[in-house]
């Protein structure tokens, strides 16, 4: 049976966090009463004219710099013509063959282009279903209409749904870091379409692609792409042909339905927007964009690796920027003894995250970065055992507070290698004769019950390594 390889490219729309809309002075809003942020321009009233938002162009240039695009010294807006009630002028002002940014790369994925355009208004379908089918009426809210969008189009460089999801998270972090967008999928400030095809492994020619529209969460994007890959593979395996069409993924049913086929494809009749002048990017605009650039995730990952973190930890902290921020705040906390970077990263990425709700950020928890740094430092200095420290972390997550006082109040400080611990070890050996025999016979793993006994007796305060050493010492092996 033929093995297939998916080929995926993404088209991402990002609402830019400007103060005003792309072509008029109306303020951007989310959740305000309908049609309260409108004017003749964004309502498409007769006689109204667009004026390009300089801040949106600035943000577009920053995105271009972030992905290493070639920034066009001159780009132009085009009209994309089609009729729909959410499009008040009967055309969308977008960019076509002369976009603001060309080419580029983010991590392993090449960028085809980045361009600016305006968002459509929002249609609210009134009636039982909430979907357009079987609704009684559709109401248009023009508050969103005219919001600046950056459209980022990738080359077809992604090879799996998971990779697409991970890359999209990196893009989101990058955009957030740039401060150009809220990049919130639930609120629609980050939207993603995927172009998907499959081909037999080892071939170079691209298969017929389909476009999967507007998936509104990371989970659905991965699921939707997976479902579409499976659908195409089934078609090819049964000797069929994939049709070029635009598809909709319904996350509730998991079903993929066709929105329109190639024959129904729109002819958008693109032509240069005569109401706007070309965007001429001058030295000053480039300097301003460059000056506004923060450290980006890829650079941050490199810097974190240089601190001694594993590549995996560094990428995760850098690509999920909030984790990286928390980690760096903890690392910067002046605690004595100081934690080691990798150990501290493990405390953040493994122990702390495991104790938080799904999706909860460490910054929103009761555990302050300094508290986690203190705990990690005390473990490193063997002032508290790992087991006891985990109990402390439970308390911190539940109630907050200072780890050192919790350790003191609860008597959780590490037992040193003195007589007290030796006595507990002796009692453990006496109580686990079977295990002692097996350890003596060379089965190192059999030490488990003995160590477990010691930990129970000491409420986890004993250091595992020290216990193992004492067992060996007392058994003479």
């Amino acid at each position: 049976m033929t093995d297939f390889e998916p080929v995926i490219g993404l088209e991402i729309h990002i609402q830019l966090a400007t103060r005003t809309k792309m072509f008029c002075g109306c303020e951007l809003s989310f959740g305000d009463p309908p049609n309260t942020h409108t004017c003749p321009v964004c309502l498409g009233l007769p006689g109204a004219l667009p004026v390009a938002n300089a801040r949106a162009i600035h943000f577009g240039l920053m995105i271009g710099l972030a992905v290493g695009s070639q920034l066009a010294p001159r780009s132009i807006f085009h009209r994309k013509n089609y009729f729909y009630p959410d499009l008040p002028k009967g055309y969308q002002i977008s960019q076509y063959d002369e976009p603001l940014c060309l080419g580029g790369q983010l991590a392993e994925v090449c960028i085809h282009r980045v361009h600016l355009e305006e968002d459509a208004a929002k249609l609210v379908h009134v009636g039982a279903s909430g979907r357009i089918h079987a609704s009684d009426a559709s109401i248009v809210d023009f508050n969103r209409g005219g919001t600046p969008l950056a459209e980022i189009v990738t080359e077809p460089d992604l090879r799996s749904a998971e990779q697409a999801g991970e890359w999209l998270r990196l893009l989101r972090t990058t955009m957030r870091q740039l401060g150009v967008s809220d990049v919130n999928m639930e609120e629609g400030s980050l939207r993603c379409d995927a172009n998907i095809s499959v081909r037999p492994v080892g071939t170079r020619e691209l298969g017929t692609k389909t476009e999967l529209k507007n998936m509104n969460s990371f989970r659905f994007i991965e699921r939707g792409i997976r479902a579409e890959i499976a659908r195409q593979e089934d078609i090819l395996r049964s000797g069929g042909r994939v049709e070029q069409e635009t598809l909709h993924y319904d996350p509730d049913s998991g079903r993929i339905t066709s929105l329109r086929s190639k024959e129904q494809a729109h002819d958008y009749r693109y032509f240069p927007e005569p109401d706007l002048v070309p965007v001429a990017v001058d030295r000053q605009m480039l300097d301003d964009a460059a000056a506004a650039m923060p450290e980006l995730p890829a650079a941050r990952a490199q810097r974190l690796e240089q601190l001694g973190l594993s590549e995996e930890s560094a990428r995760r902290l850098a690509f999920e920027g909030e984790l990286g921020d928390y980690f760096e705040q903890a690392l910067a906390a002046e605690v004595d003894p100081a934690p080691a970077p990798q150990a501290l990263a493990n405390w953040v990425l493994a122990d702390l995250l495991a104790r938080l709700d799904d999706g909860q950020s460490p910054a929103d928890s009761r555990v302050t970065p300094a508290a986690l740094a203190t705990l990690s430092g005390m473990v490193a200095a063997k002032q508290v055992s790992v087991g006891a420290a985990r109990q402390v972390l439970d308390r911190l997550v539940a109630e907050g507070g200072d780890p050192a006082s919790i350790i003191e109040v609860e008597g959780l400080s590490a037992l040193d290698g003195g007589d007290d611990l030796a006595a507990v070890v002796a009692a453990a050996l006496a109580a686990n004769a079977d295990a002692v025999e097996r350890v003596k016979a060379g089965n190192a793993k059999a030490i488990g019950p003995i160590v477990g006994y010691v930990m129970r007796e000491t409420k986890g305060r004993a250091d595992g390594g020290e216990v193992t050493r004492l067992v060996g010492e007392q058994l003479g092996i």
């Binding site: 009233l45 006689g47 667009p50 008040p88 009967g90 002819d267 009749r269 032509f271």
Partner: protein, 495 residues
């Protein structure tokens, strides 16, 4: 008394208003009474109620202004001559109307026009044709036909129009008045209901060149709401030249021979001889691509229009016609609304433009038309290295009988043969009356390089003085309702 008021040019009225010789409300009252009684169908709306007093010390001091229907005027019908916008009252006012109001020119009336400015005879208006005050069986030209006829008939001191391919200059010529299309970008388009964005430009229709300069002075300037508007490099001066000494006039062979009526050509040539007497040097020049201008124009303008007019979809304003059997059918609503709301010529141009922009045809039509446009720009550039201005007849014919070209779109389109090249080049051009042919006015067009308005107005002023064309008989007849407009005398009975 009122007849005297009606005799005043806008500039003269502004002087008398400033001197306190006449009162603004009195002048407005006289013109309102004329406008309400008019029989040429010039107006789609006439103001009543109390007009706001002109701002103190404003340079125009209260000279009333007639404004083409397609300019948005807050709370006042702005319909662009179309059924699809019947009764539409915008929530804002066009920049240029606002500027003129601030300078002291209150809104007198809105003027009839060809629907969405598409036409050369004013017969494409949803509100009926406008009659030419020189001969009521003839068209006033278009698309600013209501504005031109109103000024010619003395129903307004002056009027605002728009010119896309000749829509100010051609009706000005056919009505025996002055009409000017400024440099593209000189006047804000914000609030002008668009026909073809890269060509549309507002301009004055006036009784004489001085009035044109005066109105233009208060129209120009960068508007931050129109990205294509420009800072005009200098103030518009009132023209004073009486000589053309040292002025070189170029007569393009392509626009002054074939296709021009004999009577028009005779009148034009006679005017050139008078210009020579004023000291002008006249030479023949060539605009080799000008004969292709009309073809390029009828691709570019409809292409832009097909997109500009997409917003009239029945969703937010204007006409909406649901399918009674299927009230939820969106496509049906679009189709019925646009089918019933647009007139035949508008639909013809939407179809032309849609076709020209279609995938697979774009390069052959729109792309090629834009290349022709570039060639025409270059033609003018090289001509202006040799001469100061290009002179042509404004219109190939005098005013034609109502209905004579409505069945033949190509014949109608040829009305703009001499004016379209300047529109494509974005350069300023003015039409002044230069004589009569068959008792009907003939227009002479002068065009200059971008931003040469002051020199252009000066040259036009000198020729105007020399020719001493008298438009008065026609002007004073319009509201009186006499059987022959030219015999109406100066009674000003409408007031």
């Amino acid at each position: 008394m009122s007849a005297d008021l009606l005799e005043l040019s806008a500039a003269a009225a502004a002087r008398e208003l400033a001197a306190g010789e006449i009162a603004a409300h009195e002048l407005l009252g006289v013109y309102r009474a004329r406008a309400v009684a008019e029989e040429l169908n010039c107006f789609t709306w006439v103001g009543d109620g109390e007009a706001p007093a002109p701002p103190p010390g404003s340079p125009l001091g209260g000279v009333p202004l007639a404004v083409k229907d397609l300019f948005c005027t807050e709370g006042v019908p702005s319909q662009s001559g179309s059924r699809i916008l019947e009764g539409y009252r915008p929530p804002y006012t066009a920049t240029v109307v606002e500027r003129l109001r601030a300078a002291g020119a209150p809104l007198l009336a809105k003027t009839n026009q060809d629907e969405f400015a598409m036409g050369s005879s004013n017969e494409n208006s949803a509100f009926g044709p406008v009659l030419n005050p020189w001969d009521r069986t003839r068209v006033p030209g278009g698309s600013s036909g209501g504005s031109a006829a109103a000024v010619a008939a003395g129903l307004a001191p002056w009027a605002l129009g728009t010119d896309t391919g000749g829509s100010i200059r051609q009706p000005a010529a056919l009505c025996g008045i002055v009409g000017m299309k400024p440099t593209y970008g000189a006047v804000s388009r914000y609030g002008m209901i668009a026909f073809a964005s890269s060509l549309d430009q507002a301009g004055p229709l006036t009784r004489d060149v001085t009035d044109a300069a005066l109105m233009l002075r208060h129209m120009i300037g960068r508007d931050k709401r129109d990205a294509t508007s420009l800072s005009f490099p200098h103030e518009i001066a009132l023209p004073s030249a009486e000589s053309l000494a040292g002025v070189r006039l170029g007569v393009p062979a392509e626009l002054s021979g074939e296709g021009i009526e004999d009577g028009v050509l005779d009148s034009f040539m006679a005017a050139l001889r008078r210009a020579e007497e004023l000291g002008a040097e006249i030479e023949q020049v060539s605009l080799p691509h000008a004969p292709h201008a009309l073809s390029a124009y009828y691709v570019i303008a409809p292409a832009e229009a097909s997109s500009n007019l997409a917003r009239f979809d029945g969703v937010r304003y204007g006409l909406r016609i649901d399918d009674p059997a299927h009230p939820n059918d969106l496509l049906g609503m679009y189709t019925r609304t646009r089918h019933d709301g647009f007139g035949a010529e508008v639909k013809r141009r939407i179809m032309l433009g849609t076709y020209a922009l279609s995938s697979g045809y774009y390069d052959a039509y729109y792309g090629r038309a834009q290349r022709v446009r570039t060639k025409i720009v270059e033609d003018f550039r090289s001509v202006f290295e040799r001469v100061d201005f290009v002179v042509t007849p404004t219109s190939p014919s005098v005013a034609f009988p109502l209905g004579s070209r409505t069945g033949d779109p190509l014949a109608m389109y040829l009305s703009d043969f001499c004016t379209v090249p300047m529109s494509l080049a974005g350069i300023p051009a003015i039409s002044i009356p230069c004589g009569l042919s068959e008792g009907l006015p003939v227009g002479l067009q002068l065009a200059g390089p971008a931003f040469s308005e002051n020199k252009l107005l000066d040259a036009a002023h000198a020729i105007e003085r020399k020719l001493a064309f008298d438009p008065t008989p026609a002007r004073m007849a319009g509201g009186a309702g006499g059987p022959d407009a030219r015999d109406g005398g100066s009674a000003g009975a409408g007031a």
